[in-house]
Symmetry: C2
Subunit: 315 residues, 2 copies
Amino acid sequence: MNELERIEALASHFGAAGPGVRVGIGDDAAVFEAGKGALVWTIDAQVEGTHFKTEWVSWEDIGWRSFMAAASDLAAMGAEPAYALSALVLAPSVDDAALDALARGQAAAARTVGAPVIGGNLARGKETSITTTLLGRAEKPIARSGARPGDGIWLAGDVGLAAAGLLALMHGVQDARISAALEAWRRPRARIEAGRELARSSAVTAAIDVSDGLARDADHIAQASHVSFVFDRDRLLAHGGASLITTAGTLGRDALDLALYGGEDYALLVTSAAPIPGFSRIGDVEALEPGGARLHTRGPEGKLPLEPRGFDHFA
Amino acid sequence: MNELERIEALASHFGAAGPGVRVGIGDDAAVFEAGKGALVWTIDAQVEGTHFKTEWVSWEDIGWRSFMAAASDLAAMGAEPAYALSALVLAPSVDDAALDALARGQAAAARTVGAPVIGGNLARGKETSITTTLLGRAEKPIARSGARPGDGIWLAGDVGLAAAGLLALMHGVQDARISAALEAWRRPRARIEAGRELARSSAVTAAIDVSDGLARDADHIAQASHVSFVFDRDRLLAHGGASLITTAGTLGRDALDLALYGGEDYALLVTSAAPIPGFSRIGDVEALEPGGARLHTRGPEGKLPLEPRGFDHFA
Protein backbone atom coordinates (compact mmCIF):
# COMPACT_ATOMS: atom_id res chain seq x y z
CA MET A 1 0.00 0.00 0.00
CA ASN A 2 1.20 3.55 -0.62
CA GLU A 3 0.96 6.28 2.01
CA LEU A 4 -2.61 7.34 1.18
CA GLU A 5 -3.84 3.74 1.13
CA ARG A 6 -2.15 3.15 4.48
CA ILE A 7 -3.86 6.20 5.96
CA GLU A 8 -7.20 4.93 4.68
CA ALA A 9 -6.56 1.49 6.17
CA LEU A 10 -5.70 3.08 9.52
CA ALA A 11 -8.78 5.30 9.39
CA SER A 12 -10.96 2.22 8.90
CA HIS A 13 -9.59 0.75 12.17
CA PHE A 14 -9.98 3.94 14.14
CA GLY A 15 -13.57 4.33 12.98
CA ALA A 16 -15.95 7.19 13.62
CA ALA A 17 -14.30 10.06 15.41
CA GLY A 18 -17.09 10.50 17.92
CA PRO A 19 -18.91 13.48 19.39
CA GLY A 20 -17.37 16.93 19.17
CA VAL A 21 -14.99 16.05 16.33
CA ARG A 22 -15.34 18.37 13.32
CA VAL A 23 -12.39 17.10 11.29
CA GLY A 24 -10.87 13.64 11.78
CA ILE A 25 -8.22 11.56 10.03
CA GLY A 26 -7.15 12.76 6.56
CA ASP A 27 -6.73 16.53 6.86
CA ASP A 28 -3.77 18.71 7.89
CA ALA A 29 -4.92 18.53 11.48
CA ALA A 30 -7.79 17.21 13.58
CA VAL A 31 -10.40 19.66 14.82
CA PHE A 32 -12.67 19.25 17.82
CA GLU A 33 -15.02 21.52 19.70
CA ALA A 34 -13.74 23.23 22.84
CA GLY A 35 -15.89 25.83 24.52
CA LYS A 36 -17.17 28.42 22.03
CA GLY A 37 -14.53 27.75 19.35
CA ALA A 38 -12.56 24.75 18.20
CA LEU A 39 -9.11 23.35 18.87
CA VAL A 40 -6.92 22.28 15.95
CA TRP A 41 -4.42 19.51 16.72
CA THR A 42 -1.57 18.17 14.62
CA ILE A 43 1.46 15.90 14.95
CA ASP A 44 4.53 15.57 12.73
CA ALA A 45 7.70 13.48 12.90
CA GLN A 46 11.09 14.23 11.36
CA VAL A 47 13.31 11.17 11.14
CA GLU A 48 17.08 11.10 10.68
CA GLY A 49 17.96 9.53 7.34
CA THR A 50 14.42 10.07 6.01
CA HIS A 51 13.89 13.81 6.54
CA PHE A 52 17.39 15.04 7.35
CA LYS A 53 21.02 14.04 7.59
CA THR A 54 23.38 15.69 10.04
CA GLU A 55 25.88 16.21 7.21
CA TRP A 56 23.44 18.69 5.67
CA VAL A 57 22.12 20.61 8.58
CA SER A 58 22.98 21.63 12.15
CA TRP A 59 21.09 20.25 15.14
CA GLU A 60 19.76 23.75 15.74
CA ASP A 61 18.31 23.83 12.21
CA ILE A 62 16.89 20.31 12.72
CA GLY A 63 15.08 21.54 15.83
CA TRP A 64 13.80 24.63 14.01
CA ARG A 65 12.55 22.87 10.88
CA SER A 66 10.92 19.98 12.74
CA PHE A 67 8.90 22.49 14.76
CA MET A 68 7.98 24.57 11.71
CA ALA A 69 6.86 21.48 9.76
CA ALA A 70 4.31 20.76 12.50
CA ALA A 71 3.28 24.40 12.96
CA SER A 72 2.62 24.68 9.23
CA ASP A 73 -0.35 22.32 9.57
CA LEU A 74 -1.98 24.78 11.96
CA ALA A 75 -1.40 27.65 9.53
CA ALA A 76 -3.14 25.59 6.83
CA MET A 77 -6.22 25.29 9.04
CA GLY A 78 -6.29 29.04 9.74
CA ALA A 79 -5.51 28.32 13.38
CA GLU A 80 -3.76 30.44 15.99
CA PRO A 81 -0.92 28.33 17.54
CA ALA A 82 -1.23 27.89 21.31
CA TYR A 83 0.98 25.13 22.77
CA ALA A 84 3.36 22.33 21.76
CA LEU A 85 4.76 19.07 23.07
CA SER A 86 8.03 17.56 21.85
CA ALA A 87 8.81 13.82 21.84
CA LEU A 88 12.46 13.02 21.13
CA VAL A 89 13.86 9.62 20.27
CA LEU A 90 17.61 10.08 20.62
CA ALA A 91 20.34 7.91 19.14
CA PRO A 92 23.58 7.59 21.17
CA SER A 93 25.25 9.98 18.67
CA VAL A 94 23.12 12.84 20.04
CA ASP A 95 25.39 14.05 22.83
CA ASP A 96 24.50 16.75 25.34
CA ALA A 97 25.78 19.54 23.06
CA ALA A 98 23.70 18.24 20.14
CA LEU A 99 20.60 18.00 22.34
CA ASP A 100 21.24 21.53 23.55
CA ALA A 101 21.41 22.82 19.96
CA LEU A 102 18.31 20.83 18.96
CA ALA A 103 16.30 22.33 21.83
CA ARG A 104 17.61 25.82 21.02
CA GLY A 105 16.28 25.47 17.47
CA GLN A 106 12.93 24.14 18.68
CA ALA A 107 12.63 26.92 21.25
CA ALA A 108 13.44 29.64 18.68
CA ALA A 109 10.80 28.26 16.31
CA ALA A 110 8.30 27.98 19.18
CA ARG A 111 8.83 31.65 20.05
CA THR A 112 8.49 32.68 16.39
CA VAL A 113 5.28 30.72 16.02
CA GLY A 114 3.90 31.72 19.43
CA ALA A 115 3.40 28.20 20.78
CA PRO A 116 5.58 27.39 23.82
CA VAL A 117 6.74 23.81 24.38
CA ILE A 118 4.97 22.84 27.61
CA GLY A 119 5.90 19.16 27.85
CA GLY A 120 7.21 16.15 26.02
CA ASN A 121 8.92 12.80 26.18
CA LEU A 122 12.47 11.47 25.96
CA ALA A 123 13.37 7.99 24.76
CA ARG A 124 16.46 6.36 23.39
CA GLY A 125 16.67 4.59 20.07
CA LYS A 126 19.12 3.71 17.32
CA GLU A 127 17.68 6.37 15.03
CA THR A 128 16.92 9.95 16.07
CA SER A 129 13.47 11.35 15.46
CA ILE A 130 11.75 14.53 16.57
CA THR A 131 7.98 14.38 16.91
CA THR A 132 6.12 17.61 17.55
CA THR A 133 2.46 17.99 18.38
CA LEU A 134 0.80 21.42 18.35
CA LEU A 135 -2.57 22.72 19.43
CA GLY A 136 -4.12 25.89 18.08
CA ARG A 137 -7.41 27.72 18.30
CA ALA A 138 -9.71 28.45 15.40
CA GLU A 139 -13.16 29.96 15.13
CA LYS A 140 -13.65 28.54 11.66
CA PRO A 141 -11.06 25.89 10.73
CA ILE A 142 -10.47 25.43 7.00
CA ALA A 143 -10.63 21.86 5.71
CA ARG A 144 -9.53 20.41 2.38
CA SER A 145 -12.98 19.54 1.14
CA GLY A 146 -14.64 22.87 0.32
CA ALA A 147 -13.09 23.91 -3.04
CA ARG A 148 -15.68 24.75 -5.73
CA PRO A 149 -15.47 25.25 -9.50
CA GLY A 150 -14.99 28.96 -10.16
CA ASP A 151 -12.69 29.48 -7.17
CA GLY A 152 -9.20 30.76 -7.80
CA ILE A 153 -6.09 28.85 -6.69
CA TRP A 154 -3.95 31.03 -4.42
CA LEU A 155 -0.49 30.63 -2.99
CA ALA A 156 1.44 32.30 -0.15
CA GLY A 157 5.14 31.56 0.16
CA ASP A 158 7.79 29.91 -1.99
CA VAL A 159 7.47 26.59 -3.77
CA GLY A 160 10.44 24.64 -5.10
CA LEU A 161 13.13 26.61 -3.35
CA ALA A 162 13.52 24.24 -0.39
CA ALA A 163 13.73 21.22 -2.71
CA ALA A 164 16.44 23.03 -4.68
CA GLY A 165 18.30 23.62 -1.42
CA LEU A 166 18.03 19.96 -0.52
CA LEU A 167 19.30 18.92 -3.98
CA ALA A 168 22.27 21.27 -3.58
CA LEU A 169 23.06 19.75 -0.18
CA MET A 170 22.68 16.18 -1.48
CA HIS A 171 25.03 16.86 -4.37
CA GLY A 172 27.48 19.05 -2.46
CA VAL A 173 26.86 22.10 -4.69
CA GLN A 174 28.44 25.23 -3.25
CA ASP A 175 27.47 28.45 -4.95
CA ALA A 176 26.56 31.87 -3.55
CA ARG A 177 23.61 32.06 -5.96
CA ILE A 178 21.78 29.24 -4.14
CA SER A 179 22.02 30.62 -0.61
CA ALA A 180 18.29 31.48 -0.58
CA ALA A 181 17.48 27.88 -1.47
CA LEU A 182 19.72 26.48 1.28
CA GLU A 183 18.09 28.84 3.77
CA ALA A 184 14.63 27.79 2.54
CA TRP A 185 15.37 24.15 3.28
CA ARG A 186 17.24 24.67 6.54
CA ARG A 187 15.03 27.37 8.05
CA PRO A 188 11.51 27.12 6.64
CA ARG A 189 8.81 29.29 8.19
CA ALA A 190 5.31 28.17 8.93
CA ARG A 191 2.99 30.76 7.32
CA ILE A 192 1.15 31.61 10.52
CA GLU A 193 0.34 35.19 9.47
CA ALA A 194 -0.98 33.98 6.10
CA GLY A 195 -3.06 31.45 8.05
CA ARG A 196 -4.58 34.31 10.05
CA GLU A 197 -5.61 35.96 6.76
CA LEU A 198 -7.43 32.75 5.84
CA ALA A 199 -9.29 32.84 9.15
CA ARG A 200 -10.36 36.45 8.46
CA SER A 201 -11.63 35.79 4.94
CA SER A 202 -15.12 34.50 4.23
CA ALA A 203 -14.23 33.57 0.62
CA VAL A 204 -11.66 30.83 1.38
CA THR A 205 -13.05 27.37 0.64
CA ALA A 206 -10.08 25.00 1.21
CA ALA A 207 -6.44 25.12 2.29
CA ILE A 208 -3.39 22.88 2.66
CA ASP A 209 0.27 23.45 3.40
CA VAL A 210 2.72 22.42 0.70
CA SER A 211 4.92 19.86 2.43
CA ASP A 212 5.10 17.06 -0.17
CA GLY A 213 5.04 19.27 -3.28
CA LEU A 214 2.47 21.51 -4.96
CA ALA A 215 1.07 18.84 -7.30
CA ARG A 216 0.73 16.19 -4.60
CA ASP A 217 -0.80 18.56 -2.06
CA ALA A 218 -3.12 20.19 -4.61
CA ASP A 219 -4.32 16.70 -5.46
CA HIS A 220 -5.32 16.20 -1.81
CA ILE A 221 -7.68 19.21 -2.05
CA ALA A 222 -8.90 18.20 -5.52
CA GLN A 223 -9.70 14.68 -4.29
CA ALA A 224 -11.37 15.81 -1.07
CA SER A 225 -13.40 18.49 -2.90
CA HIS A 226 -14.15 16.52 -6.11
CA VAL A 227 -12.85 19.28 -8.37
CA SER A 228 -10.11 19.81 -10.94
CA PHE A 229 -7.13 22.16 -10.54
CA VAL A 230 -5.65 24.14 -13.44
CA PHE A 231 -2.31 25.79 -12.67
CA ASP A 232 -1.26 28.73 -14.82
CA ARG A 233 2.40 28.01 -15.67
CA ASP A 234 3.41 31.64 -16.19
CA ARG A 235 1.81 32.81 -12.98
CA LEU A 236 3.39 29.93 -11.07
CA LEU A 237 6.87 30.75 -12.41
CA ALA A 238 6.32 34.45 -11.75
CA HIS A 239 5.31 33.57 -8.19
CA GLY A 240 8.57 31.62 -7.75
CA GLY A 241 10.40 34.76 -8.76
CA ALA A 242 14.05 35.37 -9.51
CA SER A 243 15.35 33.14 -6.69
CA LEU A 244 13.75 29.98 -8.04
CA ILE A 245 14.79 30.61 -11.65
CA THR A 246 18.38 31.47 -10.66
CA THR A 247 18.63 28.45 -8.38
CA ALA A 248 17.14 26.10 -10.97
CA GLY A 249 19.59 27.42 -13.57
CA THR A 250 22.57 27.01 -11.23
CA LEU A 251 21.55 23.42 -10.46
CA GLY A 252 20.65 22.61 -14.08
CA ARG A 253 17.06 21.83 -13.11
CA ASP A 254 13.73 22.90 -14.56
CA ALA A 255 12.19 25.69 -12.45
CA LEU A 256 8.61 24.56 -13.15
CA ASP A 257 9.45 20.98 -12.06
CA LEU A 258 10.86 22.29 -8.81
CA ALA A 259 7.79 24.48 -8.26
CA LEU A 260 5.35 21.66 -9.01
CA TYR A 261 7.05 18.72 -7.29
CA GLY A 262 9.44 20.12 -4.67
CA GLY A 263 8.30 19.90 -1.06
CA GLU A 264 9.15 21.29 2.37
CA ASP A 265 8.72 25.01 1.64
CA TYR A 266 5.52 25.05 3.69
CA ALA A 267 3.78 27.50 1.40
CA LEU A 268 0.01 27.71 1.82
CA LEU A 269 -2.14 26.57 -1.09
CA VAL A 270 -5.69 27.86 -0.94
CA THR A 271 -8.86 27.93 -2.97
CA SER A 272 -10.92 31.08 -2.66
CA ALA A 273 -13.65 33.00 -4.46
CA ALA A 274 -11.89 36.32 -3.73
CA PRO A 275 -8.35 37.66 -3.29
CA ILE A 276 -6.63 37.19 0.10
CA PRO A 277 -3.93 39.62 1.30
CA GLY A 278 -0.47 38.07 0.90
CA PHE A 279 -1.60 35.40 -1.58
CA SER A 280 -1.10 35.45 -5.34
CA ARG A 281 -3.34 33.70 -7.82
CA ILE A 282 -1.76 30.79 -9.71
CA GLY A 283 -4.75 29.13 -11.35
CA ASP A 284 -8.38 28.13 -11.35
CA VAL A 285 -10.58 25.47 -9.83
CA GLU A 286 -12.74 23.79 -12.49
CA ALA A 287 -15.44 21.13 -12.44
CA LEU A 288 -14.09 17.59 -12.49
CA GLU A 289 -15.00 15.90 -15.78
CA PRO A 290 -15.93 12.20 -15.67
CA GLY A 291 -12.71 10.30 -16.44
CA GLY A 292 -10.77 13.57 -16.57
CA ALA A 293 -7.55 14.42 -14.72
CA ARG A 294 -7.77 16.17 -11.37
CA LEU A 295 -4.69 18.30 -12.06
CA HIS A 296 -3.64 20.33 -15.11
CA THR A 297 -1.21 23.01 -16.16
CA ARG A 298 -2.19 25.71 -18.63
CA GLY A 299 0.48 27.27 -20.87
CA PRO A 300 1.08 28.35 -24.48
CA GLU A 301 0.30 24.80 -25.67
CA GLY A 302 -3.05 24.73 -23.86
CA LYS A 303 -4.24 22.61 -20.94
CA LEU A 304 -2.17 19.54 -20.13
CA PRO A 305 -2.82 16.87 -17.48
CA LEU A 306 -0.40 16.97 -14.54
CA GLU A 307 0.71 13.94 -12.57
CA PRO A 308 -0.15 14.19 -8.85
CA ARG A 309 3.27 13.02 -7.79
CA GLY A 310 5.53 14.31 -5.08
CA PHE A 311 7.34 12.73 -2.22
CA ASP A 312 5.68 9.49 -1.04
CA HIS A 313 7.11 8.00 2.14
CA PHE A 314 5.94 4.54 1.14
CA ALA A 315 6.10 4.47 -2.68
CA MET B 1 23.50 13.88 31.58
CA ASN B 2 20.93 11.35 32.77
CA GLU B 3 17.27 11.53 31.76
CA LEU B 4 16.20 13.94 34.53
CA GLU B 5 19.13 16.26 33.86
CA ARG B 6 18.30 16.23 30.16
CA ILE B 7 14.68 17.13 30.90
CA GLU B 8 15.87 20.02 33.09
CA ALA B 9 18.23 21.22 30.34
CA LEU B 10 15.38 21.11 27.82
CA ALA B 11 13.05 22.93 30.21
CA SER B 12 15.60 25.75 30.55
CA HIS B 13 15.51 26.27 26.75
CA PHE B 14 11.75 26.17 26.50
CA GLY B 15 11.42 28.72 29.31
CA ALA B 16 8.26 29.96 30.93
CA ALA B 17 5.19 28.16 29.74
CA GLY B 18 3.15 31.30 29.24
CA PRO B 19 -0.40 32.34 30.03
CA GLY B 20 -3.01 29.71 30.72
CA VAL B 21 -0.52 26.96 31.53
CA ARG B 22 -1.14 25.34 34.93
CA VAL B 23 1.40 22.51 34.67
CA GLY B 24 4.39 22.62 32.31
CA ILE B 25 7.44 20.44 31.68
CA GLY B 26 8.23 17.85 34.37
CA ASP B 27 4.90 16.26 35.29
CA ASP B 28 3.00 13.30 33.82
CA ALA B 29 1.24 15.65 31.46
CA ALA B 30 0.93 19.33 30.67
CA VAL B 31 -2.19 21.17 31.82
CA PHE B 32 -3.64 24.35 30.37
CA GLU B 33 -6.87 26.24 30.81
CA ALA B 34 -9.65 25.65 28.30
CA GLY B 35 -13.04 27.19 28.92
CA LYS B 36 -14.29 26.47 32.45
CA GLY B 37 -11.99 23.49 33.10
CA ALA B 38 -8.54 22.43 31.99
CA LEU B 39 -7.12 20.19 29.29
CA VAL B 40 -4.47 17.65 30.18
CA TRP B 41 -2.05 16.75 27.38
CA THR B 42 0.57 14.01 27.18
CA ILE B 43 2.84 12.33 24.64
CA ASP B 44 4.68 9.01 24.82
CA ALA B 45 6.89 7.08 22.40
CA GLN B 46 7.51 3.34 22.26
CA VAL B 47 10.61 2.44 20.26
CA GLU B 48 11.48 -0.95 18.80
CA GLY B 49 14.57 -2.33 20.48
CA THR B 50 14.20 0.03 23.46
CA HIS B 51 10.64 -0.65 24.61
CA PHE B 52 9.73 -3.82 22.73
CA LYS B 53 11.03 -6.50 20.42
CA THR B 54 8.82 -8.25 17.93
CA GLU B 55 10.11 -11.61 19.15
CA TRP B 56 8.34 -10.94 22.46
CA VAL B 57 5.08 -9.45 21.47
CA SER B 58 2.61 -9.28 18.57
CA TRP B 59 2.06 -6.07 16.60
CA GLU B 60 -1.46 -5.96 18.00
CA ASP B 61 -0.05 -6.01 21.56
CA ILE B 62 2.52 -3.34 20.58
CA GLY B 63 -0.31 -1.11 19.41
CA TRP B 64 -2.32 -1.75 22.58
CA ARG B 65 0.51 -1.18 25.05
CA SER B 66 1.86 1.93 23.32
CA PHE B 67 -1.59 3.50 23.58
CA MET B 68 -2.06 2.46 27.20
CA ALA B 69 1.36 3.83 28.20
CA ALA B 70 0.28 7.27 26.98
CA ALA B 71 -3.25 7.02 28.42
CA SER B 72 -1.80 6.14 31.82
CA ASP B 73 -0.39 9.67 32.14
CA LEU B 74 -3.93 11.05 31.88
CA ALA B 75 -5.14 8.66 34.59
CA ALA B 76 -2.33 9.92 36.84
CA MET B 77 -3.62 13.48 36.46
CA GLY B 78 -7.20 12.46 37.26
CA ALA B 79 -8.22 13.36 33.72
CA GLU B 80 -11.02 12.02 31.56
CA PRO B 81 -9.52 10.90 28.20
CA ALA B 82 -10.98 12.67 25.16
CA TYR B 83 -8.97 12.27 21.95
CA ALA B 84 -5.70 10.85 20.61
CA LEU B 85 -3.30 11.28 17.68
CA SER B 86 -0.90 8.56 16.56
CA ALA B 87 2.46 9.20 14.84
CA LEU B 88 4.05 6.11 13.36
CA VAL B 89 7.63 5.80 12.15
CA LEU B 90 7.64 2.52 10.24
CA ALA B 91 10.66 0.41 9.32
CA PRO B 92 10.47 -1.53 6.04
CA SER B 93 9.86 -4.72 8.08
CA VAL B 94 6.40 -3.41 9.04
CA ASP B 95 4.37 -4.81 6.16
CA ASP B 96 0.70 -4.10 5.53
CA ALA B 97 -0.41 -7.02 7.75
CA ALA B 98 1.78 -5.82 10.63
CA LEU B 99 0.45 -2.26 10.27
CA ASP B 100 -3.07 -3.65 10.26
CA ALA B 101 -2.43 -5.54 13.51
CA LEU B 102 -0.72 -2.52 15.09
CA ALA B 103 -3.70 -0.29 14.30
CA ARG B 104 -6.12 -2.95 15.57
CA GLY B 105 -4.31 -2.96 18.92
CA GLN B 106 -4.27 0.84 19.10
CA ALA B 107 -7.96 1.04 18.19
CA ALA B 108 -8.94 -1.56 20.82
CA ALA B 109 -7.02 0.37 23.49
CA ALA B 110 -8.54 3.65 22.31
CA ARG B 111 -12.04 2.19 22.67
CA THR B 112 -11.25 0.80 26.13
CA VAL B 113 -9.86 4.14 27.27
CA GLY B 114 -12.59 6.18 25.57
CA ALA B 115 -10.28 8.37 23.47
CA PRO B 116 -10.70 7.87 19.72
CA VAL B 117 -7.71 8.35 17.41
CA ILE B 118 -8.71 11.38 15.32
CA GLY B 119 -5.50 11.97 13.36
CA GLY B 120 -1.81 11.26 13.11
CA ASN B 121 1.25 11.04 10.96
CA LEU B 122 3.07 8.38 8.94
CA ALA B 123 6.79 8.42 8.21
CA ARG B 124 9.35 5.85 7.25
CA GLY B 125 12.50 5.09 9.16
CA LYS B 126 14.97 2.31 9.84
CA GLU B 127 13.55 1.77 13.32
CA THR B 128 9.85 1.53 14.15
CA SER B 129 8.39 3.80 16.82
CA ILE B 130 4.83 4.54 17.90
CA THR B 131 4.22 7.96 19.39
CA THR B 132 0.83 8.64 20.93
CA THR B 133 -0.47 11.95 22.17
CA LEU B 134 -3.66 12.16 24.21
CA LEU B 135 -5.85 14.99 25.46
CA GLY B 136 -8.16 14.71 28.42
CA ARG B 137 -10.37 16.97 30.49
CA ALA B 138 -9.96 17.66 34.18
CA GLU B 139 -11.68 20.01 36.61
CA LYS B 140 -8.86 19.67 39.11
CA PRO B 141 -5.70 18.04 37.65
CA ILE B 142 -3.44 16.34 40.19
CA ALA B 143 0.23 17.29 40.02
CA ARG B 144 3.27 15.67 41.65
CA SER B 145 4.05 18.50 44.00
CA GLY B 146 1.30 18.44 46.64
CA ALA B 147 2.26 15.51 48.96
CA ARG B 148 2.43 16.47 52.66
CA PRO B 149 3.81 14.76 55.77
CA GLY B 150 1.00 12.76 57.37
CA ASP B 151 -0.51 11.69 54.04
CA GLY B 152 -0.77 7.98 53.31
CA ILE B 153 0.85 6.40 50.24
CA TRP B 154 -1.79 4.60 48.17
CA LEU B 155 -1.57 2.30 45.20
CA ALA B 156 -4.07 1.03 42.59
CA GLY B 157 -3.01 -1.77 40.28
CA ASP B 158 -0.13 -4.23 40.14
CA VAL B 159 3.54 -3.41 40.54
CA GLY B 160 6.34 -5.76 39.49
CA LEU B 161 4.21 -8.13 37.48
CA ALA B 162 4.91 -6.57 34.07
CA ALA B 163 8.66 -6.51 34.76
CA ALA B 164 8.47 -10.20 35.67
CA GLY B 165 6.69 -10.84 32.38
CA LEU B 166 9.37 -8.97 30.47
CA LEU B 167 12.12 -10.93 32.25
CA ALA B 168 10.38 -14.18 31.34
CA LEU B 169 10.16 -13.08 27.68
CA MET B 170 13.81 -11.96 27.62
CA HIS B 171 14.99 -15.28 29.05
CA GLY B 172 12.56 -17.46 27.13
CA VAL B 173 10.89 -18.82 30.29
CA GLN B 174 7.75 -20.80 29.47
CA ASP B 175 5.65 -21.71 32.47
CA ALA B 176 1.88 -21.67 33.00
CA ARG B 177 2.40 -20.06 36.43
CA ILE B 178 3.67 -16.81 34.87
CA SER B 179 0.82 -16.24 32.42
CA ALA B 180 -0.51 -13.33 34.51
CA ALA B 181 2.91 -11.66 34.33
CA LEU B 182 3.13 -12.09 30.55
CA GLU B 183 -0.35 -10.64 30.19
CA ALA B 184 0.61 -7.73 32.48
CA TRP B 185 3.52 -6.78 30.22
CA ARG B 186 1.78 -7.41 26.90
CA ARG B 187 -1.62 -5.94 27.73
CA PRO B 188 -1.28 -3.33 30.47
CA ARG B 189 -4.32 -1.21 31.30
CA ALA B 190 -4.25 2.48 32.01
CA ARG B 191 -6.09 2.98 35.32
CA ILE B 192 -8.64 5.41 33.97
CA GLU B 193 -11.36 4.44 36.49
CA ALA B 194 -8.91 4.81 39.39
CA GLY B 195 -7.98 8.19 37.93
CA ARG B 196 -11.64 9.21 38.09
CA GLU B 197 -11.66 8.33 41.80
CA LEU B 198 -8.72 10.71 42.25
CA ALA B 199 -10.68 13.46 40.55
CA ARG B 200 -13.65 12.84 42.90
CA SER B 201 -11.58 12.92 46.10
CA SER B 202 -10.68 16.12 47.91
CA ALA B 203 -8.00 14.38 50.02
CA VAL B 204 -5.61 13.42 47.20
CA THR B 205 -2.47 15.58 47.22
CA ALA B 206 -0.22 14.08 44.49
CA ALA B 207 -0.28 11.29 41.90
CA ILE B 208 1.96 9.60 39.34
CA ASP B 209 1.68 6.51 37.17
CA VAL B 210 4.26 3.80 37.78
CA SER B 211 5.98 3.43 34.42
CA ASP B 212 9.67 3.35 35.42
CA GLY B 213 9.26 1.47 38.72
CA LEU B 214 7.70 2.29 42.10
CA ALA B 215 10.92 3.61 43.70
CA ARG B 216 11.85 5.83 40.77
CA ASP B 217 8.36 7.21 40.32
CA ALA B 218 7.80 7.71 44.06
CA ASP B 219 11.04 9.68 44.08
CA HIS B 220 9.57 12.04 41.45
CA ILE B 221 6.72 12.90 43.86
CA ALA B 222 9.04 13.06 46.88
CA GLN B 223 11.37 15.45 45.02
CA ALA B 224 8.59 17.66 43.66
CA SER B 225 6.83 17.77 47.07
CA HIS B 226 9.95 17.97 49.32
CA VAL B 227 8.85 15.04 51.45
CA SER B 228 10.05 11.56 52.38
CA PHE B 229 8.29 8.28 51.44
CA VAL B 230 8.22 5.26 53.76
CA PHE B 231 6.95 2.07 52.11
CA ASP B 232 5.60 -0.66 54.36
CA ARG B 233 7.22 -3.86 53.03
CA ASP B 234 4.49 -6.22 54.24
CA ARG B 235 1.69 -4.09 52.86
CA LEU B 236 3.50 -3.73 49.54
CA LEU B 237 3.99 -7.49 49.22
CA ALA B 238 0.40 -8.10 50.28
CA HIS B 239 -0.70 -5.63 47.58
CA GLY B 240 1.30 -7.59 44.98
CA GLY B 241 -0.67 -10.68 46.00
CA ALA B 242 -0.26 -14.30 45.05
CA SER B 243 0.53 -13.60 41.37
CA LEU B 244 3.65 -11.58 42.13
CA ILE B 245 5.00 -14.02 44.72
CA THR B 246 4.34 -17.06 42.50
CA THR B 247 5.92 -15.35 39.49
CA ALA B 248 8.95 -14.17 41.44
CA GLY B 249 9.44 -17.70 42.79
CA THR B 250 9.14 -19.27 39.35
CA LEU B 251 11.70 -16.81 37.94
CA GLY B 252 14.01 -17.07 40.98
CA ARG B 253 13.64 -13.34 41.68
CA ASP B 254 12.88 -11.38 44.82
CA ALA B 255 9.23 -10.28 44.87
CA LEU B 256 9.98 -7.06 46.76
CA ASP B 257 12.66 -6.11 44.23
CA LEU B 258 10.21 -6.62 41.39
CA ALA B 259 7.58 -4.56 43.23
CA LEU B 260 9.97 -1.70 43.99
CA TYR B 261 11.96 -1.50 40.76
CA GLY B 262 9.88 -3.12 38.01
CA GLY B 263 8.15 -0.76 35.61
CA GLU B 264 5.44 -0.76 32.93
CA ASP B 265 2.52 -1.97 35.05
CA TYR B 266 0.99 1.52 34.96
CA ALA B 267 -0.30 1.31 38.52
CA LEU B 268 -1.29 4.64 40.08
CA LEU B 269 0.76 5.84 43.05
CA VAL B 270 -0.99 8.49 45.11
CA THR B 271 -0.58 10.45 48.30
CA SER B 272 -3.77 11.21 50.15
CA ALA B 273 -4.99 12.22 53.58
CA ALA B 274 -7.92 9.79 53.34
CA PRO B 275 -8.74 6.42 51.74
CA ILE B 276 -9.68 6.35 48.04
CA PRO B 277 -11.94 3.60 46.63
CA GLY B 278 -9.87 1.02 44.73
CA PHE B 279 -6.55 2.04 46.30
CA SER B 280 -4.71 0.23 49.10
CA ARG B 281 -2.37 1.88 51.55
CA ILE B 282 1.30 0.88 51.25
CA GLY B 283 3.05 3.45 53.42
CA ASP B 284 3.33 6.95 54.81
CA VAL B 285 4.56 10.34 53.72
CA GLU B 286 6.93 11.84 56.28
CA ALA B 287 8.80 15.13 56.63
CA LEU B 288 12.09 15.21 54.74
CA GLU B 289 14.97 15.42 57.22
CA PRO B 290 17.99 17.54 56.26
CA GLY B 291 20.50 15.19 54.65
CA GLY B 292 18.04 12.30 54.97
CA ALA B 293 16.93 9.90 52.23
CA ARG B 294 13.78 10.69 50.28
CA LEU B 295 12.75 7.02 50.09
CA HIS B 296 12.63 4.30 52.74
CA THR B 297 11.20 0.86 53.37
CA ARG B 298 9.89 -0.16 56.79
CA GLY B 299 10.04 -3.82 57.86
CA PRO B 300 10.91 -6.00 60.83
CA GLU B 301 14.44 -4.51 60.91
CA GLY B 302 13.10 -0.95 61.07
CA LYS B 303 13.34 1.89 58.51
CA LEU B 304 15.93 1.49 55.75
CA PRO B 305 16.86 3.97 53.02
CA LEU B 306 15.76 2.93 49.52
CA GLU B 307 17.60 3.75 46.32
CA PRO B 308 15.48 5.77 43.88
CA ARG B 309 16.53 3.62 40.96
CA GLY B 310 14.46 2.18 38.17
CA PHE B 311 14.74 2.18 34.44
CA ASP B 312 16.72 5.17 33.12
CA HIS B 313 16.69 5.60 29.36
CA PHE B 314 19.99 7.50 29.50
CA ALA B 315 21.91 6.01 32.46
